[in-house]
Chain length 520, copies 2
Amino acid sequence: MNGKKGSSVRIDICLPSSAVPRETARKSGKGDGDEAIVIPLRKWMMEVWQFAREDTNRVIFSLKVGLACLLVSLLILLRAPYQVFGTNIIWSILTVAIMFEYTVGATFNRGFNRALGSILAGVFAVVVIQVAVSSGHIAEPYVIGLSIFLVGSITSFMKLWPSLVPYEYGFRVILFTYCLIIVSGYRMGNPIRIAMDRLYSIAIGAIVAVLVNVLIFPIWAGEQLHRELVGHFDSVADSLEECVKKYLTDDGSDHPEFSKTVMDDFQDEPAYRKCRSTLNSSAKLDSLANSAKWETPHGRFTQMFYPWAEYVKVGAVLRHCAYEVMALHGCLHSEIQAPYNLRYTFRTEILDATNQAAELLRSLAKDLSNMKHSLHTSLLKRVHASTERLQRSIDLHSYLLTLSHDVCDCPAKPPAKLSHVSSFNVTDADGMKAEAETYHETMKKQQRRLHSWPSREVDDFEEDMSGESIPRMRALESTAALSLATFTSLLIEFVARLDHLVEAADELAKLAKFKQEIAC
Amino acid sequence: MNGKKGSSVRIDICLPSSAVPRETARKSGKGDGDEAIVIPLRKWMMEVWQFAREDTNRVIFSLKVGLACLLVSLLILLRAPYQVFGTNIIWSILTVAIMFEYTVGATFNRGFNRALGSILAGVFAVVVIQVAVSSGHIAEPYVIGLSIFLVGSITSFMKLWPSLVPYEYGFRVILFTYCLIIVSGYRMGNPIRIAMDRLYSIAIGAIVAVLVNVLIFPIWAGEQLHRELVGHFDSVADSLEECVKKYLTDDGSDHPEFSKTVMDDFQDEPAYRKCRSTLNSSAKLDSLANSAKWETPHGRFTQMFYPWAEYVKVGAVLRHCAYEVMALHGCLHSEIQAPYNLRYTFRTEILDATNQAAELLRSLAKDLSNMKHSLHTSLLKRVHASTERLQRSIDLHSYLLTLSHDVCDCPAKPPAKLSHVSSFNVTDADGMKAEAETYHETMKKQQRRLHSWPSREVDDFEEDMSGESIPRMRALESTAALSLATFTSLLIEFVARLDHLVEAADELAKLAKFKQEIAC
């Protein structure tokens, strides 16, 4: 319980029992003065308080579960309902505990699973019991045993089937309800009566769970999904800006070693973490959309058959944009870096394109958040224009990228090792056919003869084969400048994908009938 | 049930009841001759058969669940045990149905949750009942009601806490066990007796579930995790090769539109799909490692405290390599493409580096699979050497990349639009300070004066602002050649990350005490 929050942080579990002494210490009063216990306790209380304040829905949900349990327990604690329903009412409690989920949609979904599972199991059990009874006294236990074996095997196999995985819980319900009814029926007689009693009490539990969930501060999966998607737009925009800004200001002096950072832990890049959560959002969006489908129109979502599936699609396209941000981020932390001066040269164009792209993303997020549908044509055109400017600039000044080892003033780095001259070594003699030779091919060969192939470098490698340590890849300084081309290409590709994102967002706005806005 | 397999395919659910007529139709014999029913049924049977054959563990698991249910039902179906245990034995059935998981580790984990949850709930219930009884006849139901409310709220709040999420099931168990014991105790008296009886029957169920799971064809989470990771290595190698091969052979004639393929559906790239599953493998590896921790030494994994967590770390590094493959794949399907001839020019070097990298990955996979620890130094060096050759080649022939709009013989594509000449337009007048001007900056400005800035292009955009359709980004042909630089940079970065992968794999081999091999 005294762990930090944050989904990616994994903390040792401290079982509730160990929290008890602290609780006691607190109750016995600070006056007793065991400061060493009081301070961690206060810290822990602050953490819990922060966690609750961050999303008050968490507290609301907890109180609702408590209330639902209390209500259903009243059926037994009060004399009148107990005399009507009897001990079977404990099934209501079980149903509430198992069925009560965080969102309304998920509760409906689970309730549906439970109801359908119970009914199917009940019907099947009654049929099998009739068959068993009519097959005679001796065969009866064999028929029942065989049926239990078959139901167990078949439901377990079915729940592994990919398209039935979301209904896993339903199959579990079928299995244990079937076993319970048929076994109680065999020993206690009158299986139909037992099945019906149990269905009644399950229905009572389900009704209490649904009513409490829907009527008291309902937490709608649709609303959560909507907010989640808006948040993902913002976090992609943030991490794009953060990444580009860092690329342009970073002079390479304080690069953390990649091996230390490969475990996804970039402390100084808060937006990057959010972007990573966007990459892993697929399952969450899916499950929220799946729950939202079960919800009735509510709040801002008044339309019947609201297109929740479109949210998942927009999320998928957004994720494709986020992959490019990840690649940009990879470029930023790559071991092969363009010199700072060169990066600074294209600073204005890169920043301009980035800011325009981030603005477009934020505008999409804002519109989605306000459920408005406005045309993003002019914003999109501005992004395209700035990207085109970037392309032209790179194009005009591409000689800077490739000749950098001649003219570059890279500080504190050795010059490219192109001066090694050794014998010409045809490394690609294996398969290149003469008829396939293009203009480039010829150019390349001519050039090679001029510079000659530096094969000795390669041989260097082979010498210390017995070395224990893992060799590190060496990057050629001379190609380092090309990494700027990579960075800008990725940025341009990101912008190209924005087109599809705008398209997907438009499609969503159309299907969800967002309010049309003429002005942009 | 008649859905196709494949985890990314979502199929409409056809409830089991609808399968019954088909089943009957089959049993009544094909002789009756309703061919229209028989053919889909046969197809469906084939699919189920394929699904079962793909992984026989699925069938084994299903039969084991059936067996466990049958065994525990025997306790009631046979007279002798029933007379000993009574009707409480139905809790054994519930326990088996809820506790029986696919792998041994997951079953242990769930069993631990259930056991600890039941015990905590039982102890707490007994304490509260004593308090309630001693507080007098009138206060008793209030004390019980309040305690139910508190237990419901607190367990629900705790299970939302990030580090306690994996124990969600345990909290559910606490909640319903507590409610059941305290409520039955209130109405039926002697809560300690009830709690003990229930614990016995839960223990019987748990023992049966564990014994069946462990003794009959056990499915170990550790083994699954091991195989899963090996498979991910292979799929990254496959998709790298597939992607590069496609890049080098694709002449751009049959590009599917990006919008059609953005939804991750590249039919002709089977390895890419596998690579995507690697990207999304984080949750699966985590949960398998989590389950594996609960398992005793088994099969090939004879060491106590086997380092399952290292598998997750290697998986994370591998995922970082896979991100680069995704970026390469993005390059392949980018709208801005280097001309085919140019790609062909560097074919040998790119293929060589790719093959070496894939070979290294496969060698790592093989060693992991055989639990051997061999030095990959020479393989790694060979990869580095071929990557360095690629870098040098790009470096030597970089003029091909940037001058391509002058010399390139790209077929069927318009020439670059650099001939537009208009007035000089200082687009970056906003913030570039004079003192920051570098050599590059000066060069760039000079160059700009020569070529002049094509600002008219940008103005073109603004004119048709009222247009309804979403504008598509235009790529400059002249920068298209730079996309080759991007592709190779990404490939080089991929190789750079392989170093860290080898390191992580070595660490795993050391901790897991894989058999040392001297030869490579």
